[in-house]
């Protein structure tokens, strides 16, 4: 299965461990990701706060570039996924917007018909590869590992369609297929604070504390996520949560692709596991090293 790949800026920087784990598992899953040549930033949430049409226009350049390949455009980042999809919606639903975006693209020698299907890599893993195939690749049993799936916000909203917005199950099913145990907890789609970690730090730290506490209370050994910003907030800022709220969280927060790699028996260093802010320890270490 071949896809056009839109990495997004984060997986080339603070989330480069996400990219490492994707590279390590994609061939075994039969997923071929051909990087979109010369892609640019999607605009994320920050651009939209200052300019609307401009934000859609830079995002649309990517869709226009992707169109000549006639393949689905796949991204690992929740924000890119949402923004590119939203650009599609506005392009297709608002004639005035479509007209102006069309003119802007034309100025750059491009055109777009509105037909590129933008998908998240979790959607591809669950719905195209399938859990049956994934289960067949498991070499290391993760029996006893309690994993809290954290979906965050933008992956299932607004109505992108591949999972339920309030109670998504894709990663729950994945965890089962890998032989680990899914932790049920109520905050799996509650926001981590996203970019508020920069502008309203205390509030974002409070949201992270609630998430970490809920996962820990329900017995999680680790949290898996699918978004670069969620991972950074919960992992890199976990020590700041601890110092502000006098808590003692020590919960590794890893990408779902890293968990797949671990179960497939890929060496942890190839998956970026050694470059987490909160290192693997305790029960999780025992299980993944002993298995």
């Amino acid at each position: 299965m071949k896809y056009t790949y839109y990495p997004g800026c984060s997986v080339r920087a603070t989330a480069n461990i996400y990219q490492d784990s994707i590279d390590a598992i994609a061939p075994a899953l039969g997923v071929e990701l051909e990087e979109l040549d010369d892609w640019n930033c999607c605009g994320a949430t920050a651009y939209m706060s200052v300019r609307e049409l401009m934000s859609f226009a830079i995002s649309a350049r990517n869709l226009a570039l992707a169109e000549k390949y006639h393949r689905d455009l796949v991204t690992p980042c929740s924000a890119c996924y949402l923004v590119l999809n939203k650009t599609n919606h506005y392009f297709n639903d608002y004639p005035e917007m479509r007209k102006k975006l069309g003119q802007a693209l034309e100025a750059g020698g491009l055109s777009y018909s509105g037909n590129i299907n933008v998908r998240h890599i979790l959607d591809v893993v669950i719905n195209d590869v399938g859990t049956e195939k994934i289960a067949s690749l498991v070499k290391k049993k993760l029996k006893g590992l309690k994993v809290a799936p954290y979906y965050g916000c933008q992956i299932v909203r607004p109505e992108m369609g591949f999972d339920d917005p309030d109670d998504p199950k894709s990663m729950d099913i994945l965890i089962d297929a890998l032989g680990a145990e899914t932790v049920k907890y109520s905050l799996k789609t509650k926001c981590c604070g996203a970019s508020l970690m920069g502008t309203e730090e205390k509030m974002a730290l409070k949201l992270c504390r609630e998430l970490l506490a809920d996962a820990e209370r329900n017995g999680a050994h680790c949290i898996i996520t699918l978004c670069p910003l969620c991972q950074m907030n919960l992992d890199i800022y976990q020590s700041k949560v601890n110092s502000l709220f006098k808590t003692k969280f020590k919960i590794p927060v890893i990408y779902f692709t890293q968990l797949i790699g671990l179960a497939m028996g890929v060496k942890p260093e190839k998956l970026g596991m050694k470059r987490l802010g909160v290192k693997v320890s305790g029960e999780m270490k025992r299980i993944i090293e002993g298995a």
Binding site: A104, P158, G198
Partner: protein, 192 residues
């Protein structure tokens, strides 16, 4: 809290609703039934001057200044919980973006000063490289928005750095010229 307890019609901006209404995705706002699902879904509602339901009520009543000066839009993290649950399918998050832009334009974004610095630097980097350069964004943001608090960012920065997650050099796209032509055209056409 509302600054005025009694407000005369003359001091209200009754065109405010029409202004929001004319935005793409803004027309559904007239259908709001004040059910409060948005406020109940918002992870930040308890920290806001006015939770989302009240913001819609204020927009419709013409309390332009209260809306644009409130902290509400700056605490919105774009999680879309409200938008996905709204029974009237109002694009609430997108209305929040529109309010952010209006507040910046009219110089009423006092609470959003830091968010504005973050956004404008982000835009500057994307315009310069075609991509975001997270290391430069964080550095610029900290120096401009939190110069006296810069030391407190060091532990997190170090965690990223020692783990090889903070690249020094930016990625620049090849056809920056094409991106710039698209952007110049948008400037010509004007925002919607």
């Amino acid at each position: 809290m509302l600054e005025k307890e009694v407000c005369y019609e003359a001091t209200l901006d009754l065109d405010f609703l029409d202004e929001i209404y004319s935005l793409p995705g803004g027309k559904e706002i007239k259908r709001c039934i004040q059910c409060g699902t948005c406020s109940g879904s918002c992870p930040q509602a308890c920290q806001m001057d006015h939770a989302p339901r009240k913001i819609f009520s204020l927009i419709r009543a013409g309390f332009r200044d209260e809306v644009l000066r409130s902290n509400t839009v700056w605490l919105c993290s774009s999680c879309y919980s409200c938008a996905v649950r709204c029974p009237k399918e109002i694009k609430i998050t997108d209305v929040m973006y529109a309010l952010k832009r209006l507040a910046i334009k009219e110089g009423k974004a006092k609470r959003g000063k830091k968010a504005t610095i973050l956004s404008k630097n982000f835009v500057g980097l994307v315009n310069k490289y075609g991509r975001n350069h997270e290391t430069e964004l964080m550095t610029r943001y900290i120096l401009m928005a939190e110069p006296f608090n810069a030391l407190s960012f060091i532990p997190q920065g170090m965690k990223l750095l020692v783990n090889g997650r903070l690249p020094v050099l930016p990625h620049k796209i090849k056809n920056l010229d094409q991106l710039r032509k698209i952007m110049t055209k948008v400037e010509e056409l004007g925002e919607i």
